[in-house]
Subunit: 509 residues, 2 copies
């Protein structure tokens, strides 16, 4: 063994360089997938910028193949959202791990990574900056930027910038990217993505124009779910690191009791004192005097304590049974729909709500197992179904119990809303197996499935009746003739009477 | 809509804070999985520190449940590797995205993230720092550190440090972490992980001591695969960003031709000039004068050009058919093994080698589909099999073509070596679908499967013969008696002759 080999060289990477080197883990693995992912990131930001603030979304998406020989594609997404403040534009588009999404609140974006990955990908594959035009509601200007990312230092580079007076009420954001993308390979998935996005946001206008398709989903309702509000951390989800950070950021010298009341979800005077007594802490102790050992003990006890209230769901924004039904009707036009929105639940302090729907018949093609539409915080998930907790639950259900015989025209919709979706990766495609989540998904699905069984039972009966009626009608003339011959009564009169008897009997059975 | 809602607040996160908030995407999702992941990260670093430098690995792993009531577990891993230089210890263990793994070279570690995640997890769940003891080969000291991570700033915090003279030849690293971990839930996976690690590193001594198990794998051979050497980037894998960085880091004012020759894999004078002519560049142009448009064009042409040599495989270190066989024999003791190591191939400039094995019978339990052992750069992959390209290929093969009738005692081993494994996530569990990879995996498996078919055919024939022999022997006494009666010859003599004829015939058939 040679000694020169026996020493390594070391270096650090900025987060931008890390994701530049590992772009496939954020979904940018090839020109088709990258095009899909770019559209996703922009559309999800557009929807967050509108409906998180109670604005009915008006989203336009344009995809143009600029140079077919080189697979160069331009993607443009326009929204009528709250806009990005002028001073924040460079970092929001040009700095990895910077954003407005690091809050306890249900939103599509959570990592502060997606749009930067798209910007990086554009920069890597075509050398082009991102173009951004925006204006906030209270701004008197419209501003435009061209931004790239200094990969080594993870800083934005502003290539150009101009502002001009706003003489109308426009607010929103327009983003344009030129990337290497394979439209023909990505087309089907993108179409599916837009369709499912429309399904889960029936209050949005979504217009998509691609090189050879045009899709327009007009809102089916002007009702919009109540926007989520920012929540406080729940004591069940705490760790030492979090306590350290919170205490460092607290300027006042609070007592332990007041600290718990002020900064945690659902903790009042009585519950704070009851807990602190149980945990062996003095409620009057100043938080600034806690030692590392005490912090460790406090965090552990907070996680262990079973007396906390369940997390509040003010930070969630599920669709609700009615809107979910509208979305499905509008997009899938099935024969039957059952929807269920469960009550809020939680895992390690994170509130979540599961909503499911079962759609049956109509345009749904019969298949060998249930077709599954997965959604997380209103994001359609199209990839990695095999690794997703929902597929596992759907496959574990014995559907014959619910009178489903495959092949069947059965489509299952599962929507999970949470302040923290347990995604398996930063590409946000598969959801991990969290027992609390599994229970809720299964309970919601079974509730829908029972409704389906009732529907199928009813249909079976109707079919049975129809068959009986057909059989009866076939023999009716002969029976009536025979009775008419025997009784000497009018044949038509006997026939009418027999039909009346039959109908009364069928109705009763 | 209220105006105060219509403004977002923005902030940035350090990479340490990002992964602190999203630890599940790096595999730290619950106390069982986190324990598994912690062991993995430490063992993989230990193996990299030894065999990447030609040292026969001697790895010891200790897991102790410190406090069963609180699920507190201590993990200690010791290796005889090259050690971490004293001045690098704080950052290597206390700074996310810092390490020695950012090189074009096959190694288990690639992200510079794993051990820091384990340190973060320890810090979050027990408040305890990581303990590190190390010494490099040329160091005259042994040094010990206790390190934590300043999450907000992504910087190491050294809590304690001491050094003392080394009076022996010891070099290596010892790492100890105290984490919240669930041993009883994780035990089976950890055992499986250690077993498969031993299979893929038959030249290593691996000793594992857990609370209620002890495993010792002694090396089956002292042959170690040739360590990988650091490679140069391949022109097929280039992008503008990379060219910009490389040119910025080049101090000399090179011509385009000399730049290509000096800094890229497999580019000589002739190939550089042929390419530049084809791409429409002047070979004498100074790299410092290239405009952004030219860089874009150059990168694109480099990717498009089909005349490059295939990437060199000096940076790879596959096991080879012989060692793979040894590993499988030692750990699985099957009845039959076929191994194949394919020639190097590449995708977008990244060299890779696929090796596969098929093991049959012996202690392998019969199952309804092939049992799959997946490995990437000698790392066993145990989770997310459903999302892995290998499972897809294995399932797409019609095994009946190879005379396999399920349930069958069939185990398939697939090992992918590359300077860049296309992992789907930073947890390094599933490999993405790369067409070049798929082709090689399938070709390798079919090659093994053909050998298996030959073996099964041979076994079938042997069985057939045995059956024929049994049938013959059953009737032999009667036939011999009859012949003896007819011919008047000795019965025993006739029997012997008949057996000779039979044996000759069976051998010939």
């Amino acid at each position: 063994m040679s000694v020169d080999l026996a020493r390594e060289t070391y270096r650090g990477l900025s987060p931008a360089e890390f994701f530049y080197r590992n772009k496939e883990i954020a979904g940018f693995s090839n020109p088709a997938r990258a095009l899909y992912q770019t559209i996703r990131e922009l559309v999800e930001n557009a929807l967050d910028a509108t409906e998180l603030h109670g604005i009915l979304p008006d989203i336009k998406i344009f995809v143009d193949v600029v140079d077919p020989g080189k697979n160069i594609v331009k993607v443009r997404v326009e929204d009528n959202g709250i806009g990005v403040p002028k001073e924040e534009v460079p970092k929001v588009f040009g700095m990895v791990f910077y954003g407005s999404k690091y809050k306890i609140r249900q939103s599509r974006g959570v990592f502060g990574l997606g749009v930067k990955m798209a910007v990086l990908y554009a920069q890597i594959t075509t050398g082009k900056p991102v173009y951004v035009k925006s204006s906030t509601i209270d701004s008197k200007e419209i501003y435009e930027f061209e931004v790239m990312i200094d990969v080594i230092n993870n800083r934005p580079i502003v290539l150009s910038h101009r502002s001009y007076r706003k003489d109308n009420q426009w607010h929103g954001t327009v983003v344009e990217l030129t990337i290497e993308g394979n439209w023909s390979y990505a087309k089907k998935r993108i179409e599916e993505y837009i369709k499912r996005t429309a399904l889960i946001t029936p209050y949005a206008n979504i217009y998509f124009k691609g090189p050879d398709i045009e899709l327009a989903f007009t809102r089916a309702t002007r009702r919009i779910p109540k926007p989520p509000r920012e929540g406080l951390p729940h004591p069940k989800g705490v760790d030492i690191e979090m306590l350290k950070q919170m205490i460092a950021m607290t300027e006042e010298n609070l007592s332990l009791r007041d600290f718990l009341i002020k900064y945690f979800d659902g903790v009042g005077k009585i519950s704070a004192e009851t807990f602190l007594k149980w945990a062996g802490f003095n409620p009057e102790q100043s938080i600034k005097t806690l030692t590392l050992e005490q912090l460790d003990e406090l965090a552990r006890k907070m996680r262990e304590y079973s007396g906390w209230k369940r997390p509040k769901d003010i930070s969630l924004s599920p669709l609700g049974e009615e809107l979910l039904r509208r979305g499905i009707e509008e997009v899938l036009k099935p024969e039957f729909i059952a929807t269920v929105t469960r009550k809020p639940s939680s895992y390690i302090g994170n509130p979540f709500v599961v909503e499911t729907a079962i759609a049956w018949g109509g345009k749904i093609p019969p298949s060998e197992k249930p077709i599954l539409y997965r959604f997380a915080n209103k994001i359609p998930l199209l990839y990695d179904e095999g690794a997703d907790v929902t597929r596992k639950i759907v496959d574990s259900i014995d559907w014959s119990v619910y009178k489903v015989k495959f092949p069947a025209p059965l489509l299952v919709v599962v929507h999970i809303c949470s302040t923290k979706i347990p995604f398996k990766g930063v590409g946000k495609e598969a959801i991990a197996e969290v027992p609390e989540l599994e229970e809720e998904i299964e309970a919601a699905l079974r509730e829908c499935a029972r409704k389906l069984r009732m529907y199928i039972t009813k249909k079976e009966k109707e079919l049975e009746l129809a068959l009986k009626r057909v059989t009866f009608m076939k023999y009716l003339p002969e029976v009536a003739s025979a009775l008419s011959y025997i009784t000497g009564k009018d044949r038509a009169h006997i026939e009418r009477n027999l039909i009346d008897i039959l109908e009364a009997k069928l109705r009763g059975s």
